[in-house]
């Protein structure tokens, strides 16, 4: 260190001794008063130059005869300043028209994008607010290349999934690391229920108030993110929140208010031609809608038996047993209206900021109050407080504090594969059944009255009653799901970070950061007495996560000449994440309608659950960079990291290096001052990042013995006296080490026509080795699986961003922005395992399969010969292939966003198209609705067969029509169905086909895996700003903005019944699944913003 200092000093001395004539010093800041680092300062007409240091300070020797200094910095307008008498020149640089993207590094430090050898995307806070999305993640959609966002559903507060440059782990977390103001924070989306059922959970990143965000920087590649080691394999999203300005004159108040109306955007296509029943006959309480043709009924009112039992709905409507079905009424619209409405939210946010030369503050308050598109218990309420403050303590010390408190309350609606879920009961309902009266009293033939009975299409009299209490139908009436069941979540969260920055000399800075992110999520689920399938009970869970993080780093920066400067950084990071979940559930009530309390049950029907974990990570890191000849920029970083999750027999710490280079080739003589290409840069990056093993995976555990089969039955040895502990089904592995992802990227950034057009292109390829997954071991070894570092995954892709100011004349301007990206993912090695289940169902799932992209859709299919023709049975029906396989790929071939913005005077218009092409989806809902006969695809005409034809026509189940159906009075057979030719001549598809191989419960999932490409108008907004001088003087306000925004206004897709930008299993590793997933939404918003 001493030697190094000496060399530096000597070099400095040499350099300054040579040129000293007149020394000018100063500080360069941006408009908010923030120091700008590495601003180029050049004496005009000479080769003399320097760059600003970490405090934005510079010192330059100006030769005699020169009197103009040129200050240039990417993203800012170049300033030329004529020197006067003073030797101190401070400059406030203003942001350029198009390129305002100062980048931040992995540590949250500002940097010059033109010197970066890696690509990253930046999204301004305004763009997120203007998206009309209530969550930050959703607000990023379509705005950055290489970043794909998928919503879980359109439920209020629903989380979303972020994918950066493809999936690079199999079973590890796929979500990027989120760093807010230098401090890693949670983006958990914790599902305590089955991932294919239950409610849609939130993503914790959406706790942040979008109005607090200054900018979002997405570090996509390993080279940019390597500083975060095993947390960085899925990329890093660096969020910078707003701060007050340290300029002694500003005091700003901003207020924004938005109201939004939300609607379902895509619904399922249902038939209303045939009624409830089976085999062409009406059948009350039948699960199926393979009944009679509704228009063939007698008409008028049903004939009912008023002498015995009846159901009295809450509104007094009486339902008697039907003895003859005559009514031709159908209720598709009514049943839709029972559930859906116009959702609504109000979003108000207020911020105050200000400061003087010694300090600044930013304080904000925001409240979002959303009522979902589903009536009943579907809402989301988020309240945010934030205070960010900075204070200088003398010249050398600066203290910053960021603090946020967030409170969210929400009530969710059950979805998915779940007899108590919304869509499952709703979409299976026969069209001739009205769901309107979901609850009331049942009165038996002998006059016994049972209150709070549950009426649904499978129990139209609500008479499933045991021991005087309703036990509910097989599926919920959707009214029951949304009004009677409750699923609340209440989150209290505090995020606090402090930073102390110390500048002992002008070339050295030492920064210390300490922060804590803590939240508690109290969840509560109530299935009141009478819920479907006898499911009764209450579950409470308290989930708490606490993340503590500390960084200490020292930065040194030295400019030896215009042609050579270096920056160095060494630091230390400590991170601890603690997770606690404490829960209890009961599955019976002593008092059926008492307040929801876990004490209201016998001990035998009560269970508790308890889990906690602590993960610690500690690391030392460094960065070194060199600027050569103001055109070649080299950076190397390294991180040596240890974590508590590594197996005891594995190495205790691992090294994560990165290197990148940027070359501004347009600074070469021949290429400089080109009027078309005014800036060009080639860049290259290489980096290694990792993913930690799951916590506590290194030893074989003993767990409380409880057996569950795929069909649901459970046998818990704990219910018998003394209970039992047996070895778990997963073999421990003491050799577990982190997954390693190595990435190489190369790209270019070009700007044309004085920065009016910019183009950025990147090619990358990355390879994850040692990917951890539960390697299935032969069950006959005594275990199901063993976690091991066994898989290899590759991603290759291209990213393209183009932004151009197409036209600007006077007050009118028109900008276009395009981002396009393609990622090709391949699971290259699975250690000989054929496939790994990621999520979904037995029969149709999303898996990792060797030689296929991650998440490949896997299902049964019809058997085909080498030419792809169906292999048929004797009757001409296709036969089922003996084994399942890959039938689709949920990953898009490419995605893109196209935005256009026009401005004229105070008016603004922008539109954002987003598209995803070539992604497949498993439409499990549609498949099952075919089984039930409610799908519009099953509304086949009636076909009449003579007795001879009926004897000769063989159905898919092997029976003849005459053997399977009852004849008409005239001896003929009339059957709902259609002919189809599978290659062996026409065969007749009737209910027996859909109930078996042709429906969603059959073994052939392949039929329901289809292309789910989509293109949509993601956002469209029209705005007007009032900020004329007269207005400002009259009102003392600085501006008022009005805007009308629509999101998801139009969607072009062939997806069946569901917005393909959703996923049943949420932010899990299983992709492209639909099974009674709650719907997506479109919205219309009106916003007013007032600035003082």
């Amino acid at each position: 260190m001493k030697k190094f200092s000496l060399i530096v000093a000597m070099l400095l001395f040499t350099v300054s001794a040579t040129f000293a004539q007149r020394t000018v010093t100063g500080t360069i800041t941006d408009e908010s008063g923030e120091a700008l680092i590495s601003v180029n300062v050049v004496v005009k007409g000479s080769t003399t130059g320097t760059v600003t240091d970490l405090d934005g300070k510079y010192s330059i020797s100006v030769p005699d005869g020169s009197n103009i200094l040129v200050f240039s910095y990417t993203g800012f307008n170049t300033e030329e300043v004529e020197l006067g008498a003073s030797n101190v020149v401070d400059v406030v640089m203003t942001e350029g028209i198009l390129l305002n993207d100062v980048v931040v590094t992995a540590l949250g430090l500002k940097a010059d994008p033109d010197k970066q050898g890696t690509s990253s995307s930046q999204v301004g806070g305004k763009k997120i607010v203007n998206s009309g999305e209530t969550g930050v993640i959703q607000g990023l959609s379509g705005k950055a290349s290489g970043v794909a966002i998928t919503r879980n559903t359109g439920d209020p507060g629903a989380g979303a999934y972020i994918q950066i440059r493809g999936q690079s782990t199999i079973t590890g977390d796929l979500q990027p690391l989120i760093v807010v103001d230098g401090m890693p924070v949670y983006n958990s989306s914790i599902n305590t229920e089955e991932s294919t059922g239950g409610v849609v959970e939130q993503s914790r990143l959406n706790d942040i108030n979008p109005d607090d965000i200054e900018s979002v920087q997405v570090l996509k590649g390993a080279a940019a993110a390597a500083q975060w080691g095993t947390r960085a394999a899925n990329g890093v999203i660096i969020i910078t929140t707003k701060r007050g300005r340290m300029d002694n004159k500003s005091f700003n108040v901003n207020f924004r208010s938005t109201v939004s109306v939300d609607q379902v955007n895509i619904t399922h296509d249902l038939q209303d031609v045939y009624g409830q029943g089976f085999g062409g006959s009406w059948g009350p309480n039948s699960a199926l809608t393979w009944g009679d043709r509704i228009s063939s009924r007698a008409g008028g009112s049903d004939v009912v038996d008023e002498t015995g039992e009846y159901f009295e709905a809450t509104d007094g409507s009486i339902y008697y047993p039907i003895t003859e079905k005559r009514s031709q009424d159908t209720y598709l619209q009514e049943n839709l209206d029972q559930v859906f409405r116009n959702g609504f939210f109000t979003d108000n946010s207020l911020s105050i900021s200000g400061g003087d030369e010694n300090g600044s503050f930013f304080a904000s308050f925001a409240n979002l109050n959303q009522q979902g598109i589903m009536r009943g218990n579907s809402d989301y309420n988020r309240t945010n407080f934030r205070i960010n403050a900075d204070r200088r303590l003398g010249d050398k010390l600066k203290l910053s504090v960021n603090s946020a408190y967030i409170k969210t309350n929400s009530n969710r609606v059950q979805q998915g594969s779940n007899l108590n879920g919304l869509y499952l009961g709703m979409l299976r309902t026969s069209p001739d059944f009205s769901n309107t009266d979901h609850t009331g009293a049942h009165v038996s033939a002998s006059g016994v009255r049972t209150e709070r009975a549950h009426r649904a299409y499978r129990d139209y009299l609500g008479n499933r009653i045991v021991g005087g209490l309703p036990i509910g139908p097989v599926y919920n009436n959707p009214g029951w799901t949304i009004y009677e069941q409750e699923n609340t979540s209440e989150v209290d969260r505090i995020v606090v970070g402090t930073e102390l920055s110390y500048d002992p000399t002008n070339w050295l800075n030492i920064t210390g950061r300490v922060g804590v992110d803590n939240y508690t999520d109290d969840r509560f689920t109530l299935y009141p007495v009478g819920s479907a399938a006898g499911l009764v009970g209450l579950e409470k869970n308290t989930i708490q996560e606490t993340q503590s993080n500390a960084d200490v780093f020292a930065r040194a920066s030295k400019s030896f000449s215009k042609n050579f400067s270096i920056n160095g950084l060494v630091g230390f990071n400590f991170n601890e994440r603690r997770y606690d979940r404490l829960g209890g559930s009961i599955n019976s009530f002593i008092l059926p309608y008492a307040p929801a309390n876990l004490d209201n049950a016998t001990p035998a029907s009560s269970t508790t659950s308890d889990f906690s974990s602590t993960i610690r990570t500690a690391a030392a890191y460094f960065t070194a960079s060199a600027d050569l000849y103001d055109q070649l920029f080299l950076t190397v970083t390294g991180r040596q990291e240890a974590a508590s999750t590594f197996g005891a027999a594995a190495q205790s710490s691992f090294f994560y290096p990165s290197a990148s280079a940027a070359w501004q080739f347009t600074k070469l003589g021949a290429l400089s001052n080109n009027s078309v290409l005014n800036f060009g840069k080639l860049r290259m990056g290489y980096g290694v990042v990792g993913i930690q093993p799951p916590v506590y995976a290194s030893s074989t555990l003993y767990t409380s013995s409880s057996l569950v089969s795929g069909w649901g039955p459970t046998l818990n040895a704990g219910d018998y006296g003394q209970g039992s502990y047996t070895p778990s089904n997963r073999l421990g592995n003491i050799n577990l080490r982190p997954e390693r992802k190595t990435e190489f990227e190369i790209g270019t950034d070009l700007r044309f026509f004085q920065d009016r057009t910019s183009l950025s292109f990147t090619y990358y390829q990355n390879r994850t080795t040692d990917a951890i997954f539960a390697v299935d071991v032969p069950i006959s070894t005594g275990f199901y699986d063993k976690l091991d570092n066994a898989a290899t995954i590759e991603n290759k892709g291209y990213e393209l961003d183009i932004n151009t100011l197409v036209y600007k004349q006077g007050d009118f301007s028109f900008d276009l922005g395009l981002n396009w990206f393609r990622n090709v993912n391949t699971v290259t090695d699975l250690n000989g395992v054929e496939s790994i289940f990621l999520n979904g169902f037995t029969g149709s799932s999303s898996r990792a399969v060797e030689g296929h992209p991650m998440g490949a859709l896997w299902a049964g299919s019809f058997q085909r010969d080498d030419n792809g023709n169906y292999i048929l049975n004797d009757a001409g029906f296709p036969v089922v292939a003996p084994s399942e396989g890959v039938v689709g790929d949920p990953n898009p071939d490419w995605r893109g966003g196209l935005s256009a913005t026009a401005r004229w005077r105070g008016f603004g218009f922008n539109i954002l198209f987003e598209t995803s092409q070539g992604n497949d989806m498993w439409f499990g809902t549609e498949g099952v609705l075919r089984y039930f006969g409610t799908s519009a695809a099953t509304a086949h005409d009636l076909v009449t067969f003579t007795p001879e034809q009926a004897d000769a026509t063989i159905l898919s189940n092997g029976a003849t029509i005459s053997g399977y159906y009852a004849p008409n009075d005239d001896g003929n057979y009339t059957v709902r169905g259609a002919y189809e030719d599978f290659g062996g001549g026409d065969v007749f598809l009737d209910q027996s086909w859909y109930l078996a191989n042709g429906g969603g419960f059959g073994p052939v999932g392949e039929q329901f895996v289809k292309d789910a490409s989509w293109t949509r108008i993601r956002e469209m907004a029209l705005s007007y700003r009032l900020d004329s001088k007269g207005f400002r003087e009259a009102t003392k306000l600085s501006s008022i903005d009005f805007s009308l925004t629509g999101r998801n206004l139009v969607i072009w897709t062939q997806a069946e019944g569901v917005d393909p930008d959703t996923n049943l299993t949420g932010a899990s590793n299983g992709r492209g699944l639909d099974y009674f997933t709650n719907p997506g939404t479109r919205s219309f918003l009106f916003t007013i913003k007032v600035a003082y």
């Binding site: 013995s705 057996l707 003394q722």
Partner: protein
């Protein structure tokens, strides 16, 4: 100043590299679950696995393929119609090998170390019960190399004959290890572990056609209905009778008994009714089946409401009636019809005691031509064997054994196929095992390929 800085930075650097590791040490220990448990604490889990194998999905499938139950909804229609795929069999296999055999082996080792013979013996008996069933259903299965993950990563499949031999050896070891009967059983209830071991030996000898050995073993088998080995259940969902849990609680309507052959034999109103002057099935049929009742999912359901499959109904694993009927069949097959008849009557007497209706003793003449139990065109001996087999088919309602008997006897009772003319001859090797065990038999036998012993 410089010095302070220099030292601070050096300190930071060295601290980071040295202390990175010490800062994370000790945080890899799981605060939630232990890494070991004593033998006796493992026993309930082992019993539960065995119950899950014999009362769970395998038993339902076996019953559907033997005319006892009917798949009526969703995936069960496909299974019922023999459209089964390898993954349909994953769950039972997991219970046999991972939740069963491996646990049993660990338990045996710990019990032996404690010199706890009865406990070790009980674990051996459960092991034999499960592996015997695996051999019955799948033919060749892993046994000699199974459940030793550190030694055999891909256990080989022993021949079915070798597995039966090994199972007999396991049972012999159980019998000799236990100097006395242990009184532990948590998830199940039984009279004597030793008696169970002998009946299991008899069952396996019967399957391998070693009738004399079977008789010898059965003579020490379960000695009375009170000593039956049964799974017990509670009125709470996590320990409901598994049939109940499936048929009503979890998957209402998936499995009924619409058109079930066994129902037709027992239903006094059916043309197929087997009752006669000495045999009144009117109570047994209501115990087995629910019909003429508004709560059924089908027209007829296996009785989940007030019969054999209520939430807390016990489920038979190894019974006195089976033991007697093994004896009856073995005597009949070895030409001793007098003894055969005695043991058949013992089984019938047990029914009479249980159901309270007539199951009067048959006499030899009942099987002669013109006798009430004679089948037209068959000899007395043939008729007696048919009666024994039919009685066993009905007595072991709900158990996997009826499917094994059906295949073993080439369906001598003429139970109709659910579709086509053939009844499956085996279960398919599981998808789990196909995916991960390089020693899985190749080519994989199909559903209609008999296991070696039935070839």
């Amino acid at each position: 100043m410089r010095n302070i800085l220099k030292y601070a930075m050096l300190l930071a650097l060295s601290m980071s590299i040295v202390s990175c590791e010490s800062l994370v040490e000790g945080f890899d220990e799981n605060p939630n679950d232990p890494t070991d448990a004593p033998a006796i604490t493992m026993f309930g889990g082992l019993e539960a696995a065995n119950v899950f194998v014999h009362e769970g999905s395998y038993a339902r499938t076996a019953g559907m393929w033997s005319g006892a139950f009917t798949g009526s909804d969703r995936q069960y229609i496909a299974t019922y119609e023999y459209n089964a795929v390898a993954s349909d069999f994953d769950y039972g296999w997991r219970d046999i090998y991972a939740n069963g055999l491996y646990v049993s082996r660990q338990l045996q080792e710990k019990a032996a170390a404690l010199n706890n013979g009865p406990l070790e013996s009980a674990a051996l008996i459960i092991e034999a019960h499960m592996i015997g069933t695996a051999a019955d259903l799948f033919g060749d299965v892993p046994y000699s190399q199974a459940a030793q993950p550190d030694v055999y990563a891909n256990p080989t499949y022993d021949s079915q004959a070798d597995v039966y031999t090994a199972v007999q050896a396991t049972l012999d070891k159980a019998i000799t290890t236990a100097s006395e009967d242990g009184d532990f059983a948590y998830v199940t209830r039984l009279g004597s572990w030793k008696e169970v071991a002998y009946t299991l030996k008899a069952r396996n000898y019967l399957h391998t056609g070693q009738y004399a050995d079977a008789i010898a073993a059965a003579q020490n088998g379960v000695s009375s209905s009170d000593n039956d080995w049964v799974a017990t259940h509670n009125d709470i969902p996590t320990s409901y009778n598994i049939y109940y849990s499936f048929m009503d609680f979890e998957r209402g309507g998936y499995m009924t008994a619409d058109g079930a052959y066994a129902f037709s034999l027992l239903n006094p109103n059916d043309g197929n009714y087997r009752g006669n002057a000495k045999t009144d099935e009117s109570e047994r049929v209501s115990h087995y089946y629910l019909f003429d009742d508004g709560d059924t999912y089908g027209t007829v359901d296996p009785n989940w409401k007030d019969g054999m499959f209520t939430p807390s109904s016990e489920f038979p694993l190894v019974t006195y009636v089976e033991n007697e009927l093994i004896l009856a069949e073995c005597y009949a097959r070895t030409g001793n019809s007098a003894m055969a008849l005695d043991h058949l009557n013992n089984a019938r007497a047990a029914h009479a005691a249980k159901y309270g209706t007539a199951y009067d003793d048959y006499v030899t003449a009942d099987f002669d031509a013109g006798g009430m139990a004679n089948i037209a065109g068959q000899t007395a001996d043939e008729s007696l064997l048919m009666e024994i087999m039919e009685e066993k088919y009905l007595s072991m309602y709900g158990q996997i054994e009826i499917f094994t008997d059906l295949r073993r006897t080439d369906n001598m009772l003429g139970i109709p196929a659910n579709t086509g003319t053939n009844i499956p001859e085996r279960f398919l090797y599981t998808q789990d095992e196909i995916n991960s065990n390089s020693n899985v038999p190749s080519p994989i036998p199909g559903l209609f390929d008999p296991t070696p012993i039935n070839q």
